[in-house]
Structure formats: C-alpha cells, structure tokens
Amino acid sequence: MNVVGVRTLFRKEIRRFFRVPGQTILQPLVTTTLYFVVFGYTLGGRQAEVDGVPYLQFIVPGLVFLGLANNAFLNSSSSLFIMKIQGTMVDLLVAPMGPLELLLGFTAGAMARGILVGLLTWAVALAFTGLHAVDVARTVLFLMLSSYVFSVLGLLAGLWAEKFEQVNVFPTFLMLPLTFLGGVFYSVASLPEPLRTVSLFNPIVHMVDGLRGGMLDRPAGSPTGLVLLLALAAGSTAWAWRLLKVGYKLKS
C-alpha cells in the first residue's frame, strides 16, 4: 500500500478546492443558506412545526445533507474528470497507485469538502435556530457515510463522463430531484397515499431521515437509512474499485 501516495493525492485534492474557495465552499454555502432563508424563514416557517419539531430546525439536516452530498459528489467527479481532460491523469496512472490508493485518495479529498460544506451550513443554520441537543455519534456516522457514498458515486461519474455536460447529469437529473423529493423540506409521513409509499423508494428519504434523527437527537426510528447507506457504500466501492483496476475510460 502506497501510504505516501494516498496522502499526497488527498492533500492535493484539498489544496485544489481551497484554491477556488468561492466556487467550492462559499457558493454552495450561499445556496444552501438561501434555501434556509426562503423555505424556512420567509415562507412562514417560523410558526410551523413538523413532527413535533420547529420547521426551521426540521429542514436543517436536509440542507446539511444537500450541501454535503452535492459537494462530495462534485469534488471527486470534477477532479477526476478534469484530470482526464487535462491529461494529468497519466501522472497517477504511471505512479505506483493501485485502485485502492486512487479510491482512498479521491474519496478522502471529496469527503473533506462535503463535510466542510455540511458543517458550515449547519453552523449558519445554528445562528437561526439556536443550539439544541445532538446525538453526536449518530450524526458523525451519517455525515461520514453519506459523504463517503457520494464521493464514490462522484468518482464513478468522473470515470464515466467524457464531456463536461455528462459530469452534471447525475447532480442535475438524479440527485437534485431525489433530494428535493426526499423530505428535505417536508415530512414524508405527512404526504397523502400513494405519494407517501412511492417516496419510501427514494433512498435519500431514508438518508435524510437518519441524519435528522442524529442532528435533532430524535429517537432512532427505522434503520433503513443506515442499511441503505451501508449497502450503497459497499456496492459503489466494489464497482469503483473494479473500474479503477481495469482502467475503465482511463487506459486505452
């Protein structure tokens, strides 16, 4: 195992997104803050309660998830894709970096950005909601797992994409609708049938629910979110490892 190589790739990824903080950190922070202000603050959300929680507090975990998942995904997908376009991927392919090293380096860098944006979003939200109880262990678990899964999914997208347009296919046409329909701004339990049952097939519903349980220190409900994240983590890792091993769209 090339530990120095993994550490180098991880640090390089972090330096890369810190070189353009406006684009990689501030922009998503502004976007999620706007969601918070518009949906939670100005649309009368101050008075409402959802599932016994003030609406402002209720939407915070979903917004944290949105920022975290999007940024973890975008970091690994755009970094890998840009390296392919620039030709600098060759530097990694000729180096003694096997599939495991590449996977670890890229995902660790993407997780760092996802978690950073998620935590900053949370910090901004706390200014509106005030401090409240948190189940730290459960929150950390969901933050880590969610950022990991979306980092690996981003890596897969970066490997697959051949055009800039394709990098944005997943965030725009899959992640964004699934997130908006995933209970970020409302409680799925309050939906009428059959929408409620259909929503349960959206994996993001369970992930947001799991994170909400931790961040708002609510009693642990269904373990579906955790099971889904674990299954996605295992499946996407195996897939990414395989594609990196054969050099899918990296080697001719």
Partner: protein, 314 residues
C-alpha cells in the same frame, strides 16, 4: 549480460479496426539508450503505453525490472518514469508544487534538494513558484521531463521529449540524458528528430504498422544500411566517366555534376574520387554528406512497404 530491464514478448494490441501492436518482442538492457523510431501511428506510443500500464495489451507478456505486469502491475512503477507525448499540466499548482506532488505519488517523502536540482537542471528555477499555466510551451515540456525524473527512476520512457523545445535547450537535454545513462538509468526514447536518436541512442528499433522491423546497435545499423553521399561539381562539362570505380556513380545530363552513394558492398567514396582525379577531370567542388539515420529509416520503411505490396500482389 545483465538481466534486461524491459522485456516484451509477442505483445499484441488490437483496437477495433486497428492492430496497433502486432506481436512485438523486445528486450532492453540496463543502462542503454534505446531509440524507437517510426512514422506517425506506427505504434511507438502504444508500445510505451503497454510497458507503462497506460495501454491494456490484448495478448503477450510485458515484464518491467524483472516483474511480470500481469502478476504485479504496480510494484515496478516505483522505478519507472514517463515523459508523455502530450503536454499536461495542472493549472492549480506551481512547477515546484507539481514536482513535490509527483514525488509523493511515487511514495517518496519531501525532498527539496532533489526538486531544486531538477528545476535547475531543466532551467526552470526562475519559474519554480509560478503557476504552471503561466509557463511557455517549452517550459511545460521541460516540467514534464522533471516530473518523470523526480523520483530517480531506473527506467525512463521519453515519448517525444524535445518536441517544441528550442535547439539550445534540446542540446542541454541531450547532455542531461547522457548524464542519466552515466548514472545507470535506462532510457527508451521516441523522437521525430532523428538527429536526436543519432546523437543519443546505443540501439535503434524501427517500428511500422505495429511490427518491429529492425532492432540493431546504431553503429552497426548505420554501417549496414547507411549511405554516404558524394557530390562533385565540374568546372566544365564532362563527356563521359572514366573506367574504374567512378562508373558506380552518375553523371548529370549536363555533364557538370557527379553523384555517388556509398553503401555497404559498393566502392569507397575515396576510391571513386581518386578515379575522377586520376582521369584528370576538372573537379571544381566536392561535398560529402555522412550517412544519416533518416536515410536508414526511410530505406527500412520503403523496403517493408515494397515487401508488403509484393505480398499483396501475390
């Protein structure tokens, strides 16, 4: 002979509709400079890619530094460097950072002295802390070379390393490559500057249509296939050539010029020239062009194409 650092055995690379490598076998000895020559699309870069792990071979065996790449594709890479043909650079980083990152990819800890040494050797010290996007084309090319060497590889592939580099710097780079060889580094080089191969190479391989046509020690190849060109200008027209070695040459239609191609098995140019003087011909000017690798390359490629055409005609 010491064990070869690179061995290819019957390597085939088949793309849809194109056989880029067609059963290539080759062994590169430690410490030699091997020049791989051939026209565009001949298979040079594919061959290097197969050895560096950038190309998935269809069949055959590649062994680098004694390790079969099918068994362990990663371990030999600690000691291999590649200067790719296409210029690449990461605009987020400076030249110095780029080299530090490359060193890390190869599992080496920070080595400021090594980075400074390479920046100086490749005339990049003044631009060390400038973002790579601000470097000129030649500087970016030199940075590629520095990247390939920063981890002190034992085997280096230079795929068109001096394309776009000015003459003075090219000669500096040649000097650097010779220093590498003196330190025991093995170099596999492809180049379109045949003068470069002539200057540097110990052995030469000529590849075309994915097949290795010739692999030979450079001096022996030049002697076997090289031609020296003798050109003579007469002060006044000459009606006929004297009997003897000079008849091997050609008199121009206006009788004012004479040319002779000296190759293996023909008379020596000196004998031919002596024959002209002995016959009292009015020799005004004599030029002698040495054998060139370019001629050898063109001759090998031409004879291969003739053979193919003959094969096709049958």
């Amino acid at each position: 002979m010491a064990a070869p650092v690179l061995v290819l055995e019957q390597v085939v690379k088949q793309y849809p509709g194109l056989r880029a490598l067609d059963g290539v076998s080759l062994a590169i000895a430690p410490g030699e400079i091997f020049a791989l020559l051939g026209p565009n699309g001949a298979g040079k870069t594919t061959l290097i890619g197969a050895a560096c792990g950038l190309v998935r071979k269809t069949s055959g065996r590649v062994s680098v530094l004694g390790v079969d790449l099918d068994v362990d594709p990663v371990r030999p890479r600690y000691d291999v460097g590649l200067v790719p043909q296409e210029i690449n650079f990461d605009p987020f980083f400076t030249a110095r950072e780029t080299l530090e990152i490359q060193l890390g990819y190869f599992g080496r800890s920070k080595d400021a002295a090594r980075v400074d040494e390479l920046l100086a050797a490749l005339s990049l010290s003044a631009k060390a802390d400038v973002p790579t996007r601000a470097l000129s084309g030649g500087m970016k090319r030199r940075l590629l070379i520095a990247k390939a060497l920063v981890h002190r590889p034992r085997l280096v592939f230079l795929d068109e390393p001096t394309a776009g580099v000015d003459v003075e710097l090219r000669r500096d780079l040649w000097g650097y490559v010779r220093r590498l060889r003196a330190q025991g580094t093995t170099v596999v080089l492809t180049t379109h500057y045949l003068e470069e191969a002539e200057e540097l190479a110990d052995r030469v391989g000529i590849i075309d249509h994915g097949r290795l046509l010739v692999v030979e020690e450079k001096g022996a190849l030049m002697q076997r296939l090289g031609e020296r060109h003798l050109e003579v200008k007469f002060r006044e027209p000459v009606a006929a050539l004297p009997a003897g070695p000079a008849t091997a040459g050609t008199l121009s239609a206006d009788g004012r010029g004479f040319s002779f191609h000296e190759r293996r098995g023909t008379a020596q140019a000196a004998e031919v020239l002596a024959g002209l003087f002995a016959a009292g011909l009015p020799v005004g000017d004599v030029t002698m062009a040495p054998a060139s690798l370019e001629d050898v390359l063109l001759r090998v490629l031409a004879s291969e194409r003739e053979a193919q055409a003959a094969g096709g005609a049958r």
